[in-house]
């Protein structure tokens, strides 16, 4: 049994490879040249004792270095995961790249499972209850969401492959200690609030957020590798936007430097107001607001589209499923951000001036 992991050097790819350590793995990574490949091999050698092969999903035959006869499982983790990704890049990497994985999977005679790591937000603009079923096109807030939905469709239609779609939550920390391993829209938004660069809150405070640890997410993925193919929503138990912000500010307000600045809690604003503010900010010369908002704005509209993700299939397939305390996770992650990131950055700024 050999598992091919695409995007094995990515944030989740590495952690999945580590979780499967001891099994037969082939780690596929994208690299520009031999030097980068060597660097990635050295890094992944610390994660798993497995061959590392170059795979660029934009190539016509990206799996030329992989023998399809030995592959029994594919975990397709490679993707561009940015809410501000362009349509062209999302299309070439996330959609066309998945089509190439599908073509390769058809050549794997012993394939038991092809798992796509997708996102809960492949649901797009729909509101309300979201089931663990195929989605029709409800429109999308950004090209990233669209591309992940299109990638799901690419594998699910037509049927014939043993496809598992794992729709993943927003990972905000490594584990319940709150240690932040990688920044995404959540962290950028918190930085804006902590620094006083943003005092508007896009979204309905009642909108549930699906925030998780990498540990929970990887446990779900590995559990689903032994589950029947199908669609699963990896949702650890939601926290509302309003509670998440209140929790974050309760943490920030323990920080003396934050308290001294007496920064106000953000006020909820309507969609048009946030859009106007983001548009205007694009013309503010070179300050820190612009790049930080760039990662937040393409996602902000989701915060006006409350969704309740059903997890019946996930819980039935993953006996180790335990709902997570998302409020405690936000608290832990924000504490980590202050101690290891925000305060460090502020100290460096102070030194520089």
């Amino acid at each position: 049994m050999t598992t091919l992991i695409t995007g094995a050097d990515g944030y989740l790819g590495q952690r999945i490879a580590a979780a499967l350590r001891g099994e037969d793995l082939i780690l596929a990574v994208r690299c520009a040249d031999e030097t980068e490949l060597d660097r990635k091999r050295a890094r992944l050698a610390r994660v798993a004792d497995a061959p590392v092969v170059p795979v660029d999903l934009r190539d016509a035959d990206p799996f030329a270095h992989v023998d399809p006869r030995q592959i029994t499982r594919i975990v397709h983790a490679a993707a561009v995961i940015r809410f501000d990704v362009s349509h062209d890049t999302a299309s070439r990497v996330n959609v066309a790249g998945t089509a190439r994985v599908r073509e390769f999977a058809h050549r794997c005679d012993r394939l038991d499972q092809l798992m796509l790591l997708s996102t809960l937000y492949s649901a797009g603009r729909r509101r309300g209850e979201v089931r663990e079923t195929r989605h029709d096109d409800a429109g999308f807030v950004n090209h990233y969401e669209w591309s992940k939905w299109a990638a799901e469709e690419c594998l699910l239609d037509p049927p014939g492959l043993p496809v598992t779609v794992a729709r993943l939550p927003t990972v905000i920390a490594e584990d319940t200690t709150g240690a932040v391993g990688q920044y995404n829209a959540f962290h950028h938004t918190m930085r804006l609030y902590h620094s006083g660069l943003l005092t508007l809150l896009p979204g309905d405070p009642a909108t549930p957020l699906s925030l998780a640890t990498a540990e929970f997410t990887v446990d779900a993925v590995t559990a689903l590798l032994t589950a029947p193919p199908g669609i699963y929503q990896v949702c650890p138990g939601p926290v509302t936007l309003g509670t998440a912000i209140d929790t974050a500010f309760a943490v920030f307000e323990q920080d003396p430097s934050f308290l001294r600045r007496m920064l106000p809690r953000p006020i909820p604003c309507d969609r048009a107001s946030f859009h106007d503010m983001a548009q205007a900010a694009q013309r503010l010369r070179g300050g820190p607001l612009q790049p930080a908002l760039a990662s937040v704005t393409p996602f902000a509209e989701q915060l006006y589209l409350p969704k309740h993700f059903r997890t019946d299939r996930l819980r039935a397939a993953w006996h180790g499923y335990r709902a997570q305390n998302a409020t405690a996770l936000v608290e832990a992650a924000c504490t980590d951000l202050i101690e290891r990131s925000f305060r460090v950055t502020e100290d460096r700024s102070a030194t520089a001036t």
Partner: protein
């Protein structure tokens, strides 16, 4: 602030009217001119090299004097962002050289012999409203007094950027009189919030905190006179990015058609004087009817936020 009225509004601007593109070419701006144009700015007013902030203040007060409204003044409250005056270069031996008394000069020049003087320079662009508040307090504590002249004036030093917090700046001054006798408007209240923790805030923090604080400011000020923001008849604002009040109007649930800043393109942000210029434009337009309530919200470095509410009387 029972029984207090406000009127005799006047303002003066730097003598050189410049287009934003011209000032960009002269190196007076930090942002690209097209970005400031997208915010609604077009023209601004810059002093001639030898003109001072005092000259601007004198011009505004002279307008009031010319109308015959500068009588019986008991106090002058003078607000400025930049109190340094025009200090010369080189070492200072006599600290009197650092002192500047523009309010006293106004008193002498306009013959307001019984007026005492008060200076405000900790409220940045909100100082004009701070002057109204101090005027109200003086009239409350001095039963024999009838009229207080409020003046604000600022002139940027030669070579300075005429841009602050992404706003195009004009040199300018404004003046008005707060008194006990019925006048154009009744002065109902002035409210202030200060966050000294953001006293050294940069442009981005200033912009970032603008919405939450202005939202709070207007709500709290309206509440002081028993109103909700939606019940205000007019909101006369500083000249700032035209999107800012489209956003705030939605947040405060007030009709954006009642937000009034018609001088934005023509004069830009005149430190503490553009609200007075906009208020004068509203009163001159005849659209403000007796009994209507006008809010004047202002934000300034420091960071300070102030808002006054006036009731139109008509005279």
């Amino acid at each position: 602030m029972n029984g207090l009225y406000i009127g005799s509004f006047a303002h003066a601007l730097g003598a050189q009217k410049r287009h934003i593109r011209e000032s960009a070419e002269a190196g007076l701006l930090r942002s690209a001119p097209e970005d400031l144009e997208a915010a609604g700015f077009r023209w601004h007013h810059v002093c001639e090299p030898d003109d001072t902030a005092y000259d601007l203040a004198r011009a505004a007060v002279a307008e009031i004097a010319a109308r015959g409204d500068l009588t019986d003044v008991d106090a002058i409250v003078y607000a400025t962002c930049l109190p340094g005056g025009e200090a010369g270069s080189g070492p200072v031996r006599d600290v009197k050289d650092l002192m500047d008394f523009p309010a006293g000069r106004l008193q002498a020049e306009f013959g307001m012999s019984r007026a005492i003087v008060v200076g405000l320079h900790q409220q940045a662009c909100t100082g004009a409203l701070g002057a109204l508040r101090v005027a109200g307090a003086l009239l409350t504590t001095e039963p024999g007094w009838r009229r207080v002249l409020c003046v604000t004036a600022d002139r940027f030093p030669v070579g300075a950027w005429y841009e602050q917090a992404y706003n195009l700046i004009s040199d300018g001054a404004a003046a008005c009189v707060v008194g006990r006798d019925p006048d154009v408007c009744r002065l109902l209240t002035v409210h202030q919030i200060t966050n000294g923790g953001l006293g050294r805030a940069g442009d981005d923090e200033t912009v970032g905190t603008y919405f939450a604080y202005t939202h709070r400011l207007v709500r709290e000020t309206a509440a002081r006179v028993g109103l909700t923001p939606a019940e205000l008849d007019w909101v006369v604002t500083q000249n700032t990015h035209e999107k800012a009040w489209q956003i705030l109007a939605r947040l405060l649930e007030l009709d954006h058609a009642r937000v009034w800043a018609p001088t934005l393109a023509d004069v830009g942000h005149v430190i503490s004087a553009d609200v007075i210029a906009n208020l004068s434009a509203l009163l001159d337009s005849g659209r403000a009817r007796p009994g209507q309530r006008i809010a004047l919200p202002m934000a300034g470095f420091g960071l300070n936020w102030q808002c006054a509410v006036l009731e139109v009387v008509g005279r």
